[in-house]
Symmetry: C2
Subunit: 234 residues, 2 copies
DNA sequence: TCAAAAGTGTTAAGTTTACACCCATGA
DNA sequence: TCATGGGTGTAAACTTAACACTTTTGA
């Protein structure tokens, strides 16, 4: 094999995962109080190094499945973080991924093992390195995508009420939505299907449970439950 | 310094730049017919390895300024490409960036030196490695951004006609726009300012030259010259 | 004088917003 | 019986889309 590259430096390449969950009307992140070095005792995202023979996407999936035991998690790349001093230990380029998962799919035993817990977005502590910046960019990326692609259902159980769905969108975009207008839009989306199940846990009357039908969605690919936002300061 | 990382592998980290230009009603890319190894004689994006002591953003800026002599180029990260075998020579993780530049700012002497040329988007040849995939993702990223943030002015000269601006949007989104509706929207954007200059090169009558006023834009941050598109197949 | 690009308004259709009350039930 | 969350429609405001002719002037 010829070797044109050997004069160039090599770096550690890591992945970090911004894991979103939704509970009690708020977005949460799965964070880790590190019980290992470096930065022992500090809060961080879940991450790990990319192995030889493993793509960065695979590394992110591995980190997620090691942590949760789940293999089919919705995941998307946020981007690379490549500042020289981002990790004070050594030069590490990290690729951030966000993941969306139903908070109930994740058992609390796993939480203990990894010293992890769900923290409300409004209570995110100082994280190590540039992890707070990763969270901010992940949230922007996710909001952009969730406004026109139905990824948000990954944050809900298979069966959900319209109140839950609305509350999820309000949590993501941080503003209230009108109930009647919201339901009118949902009603036009045939792939958000009424089931004959009822949720009796959150009201006396009970609420109809709905379900997202992905193959029906793929026929129209039309989805918009939230207005497209103007630019933030860029 | 403690050394928690040494058991993990290191990789080459590269940057690749998708450089957009606009000319004669079409988007173009600045591509390179490689006069060096590896992949000598093949077409590729402009790229380079990230140096020690240099962030990935800085590496991308360096690649762009080495190539063009320009330092203030609009540039944004597309994302990391981390497949194991993406570079058949050796494991390389590459961070893609797109750049927008006014095709006239780039002199043809530079083109020669780098064996580079502007190729119409509709004529992009097979590129090395995963560079075609990078181009596709860069275009999607750029379209998403250009629909609600006025980045497209980076593709035009400082003074431009409304016909040029419309033609640019038609090139980016690949569909025709109604002239009167387009001009009505532009007229509402006070930061797209009429100047008292005229362009006489493309019509006998002459067309009024406009100019984008960034600080005026920042007061409202409202911009939309193209409808937000539905999902492509994702 | 005519070809070629620049410039200009109105109307209908569709979308978004605002808004308030009745329903069902378990405690 | 009443407190709680579930469910429903209409009208006004706004936005988008469709559409065709006149102007200017250099060749």
């Amino acid at each position: 094999m010829s070797d044109f590259y050997s004069i160039y430096p090599k770096f550690h390449v890591a992945v970090d995962c911004i894991i979103f969950g939704f509970d009690k009307g708020e977005l949460h992140l799965l964070l880790q109080k590190r019980n290992f070095q470096p930065a022992l005792g500090e809060w961080s995202l879940m991450g790990g190094f990319v192995n030889a023979g493993e793509s960065t996407d695979e590394a992110a999936k591995r980190v997620l499945s090691d942590l949760t035991g789940l293999s089919k998690i919705y995941m998307e790349q946020v981007g690379a973080f490549g500042e020289v001093e981002r990790d004070p230990g050594e030069r590490v380029v990290s690729i951030a991924y966000y993941a969306l998962l139903n908070i109930r799919d994740y058992d609390s035993e796993q939480l203990q093992v990894h010293n992890a817990c769900w923290i409300k977005m409004s209570d995110i502590p100082d994280l190590i390195f540039d992890h707070n910046a990763m969270v901010a960019r992940a949230l922007e990326t996710m909001k952009g995508k969730a406004s026109h692609i139905p990824i948000s259902f990954n944050l809900l159980p298979e069966y959900f009420t319209l109140t839950q769905l609305q509350s999820l969108y309000e949590a993501i975009y941080g503003e209230p939505l009108d109930k009647r207008n919201f339901r009118k839009k949902v009603a036009e989306m045939d792939y958000i299907e009424k089931t004959d199940h009822m949720d009796k846990t959150s009201s006396k009357r009970g609420a109809i449970l709905y379900r997202f039908n992905d193959s029906a969605y793929r026929k129209t690919m039309k989805f918009r439950l939230f207005k497209v936002s103007d630019a933030s300061i860029v």
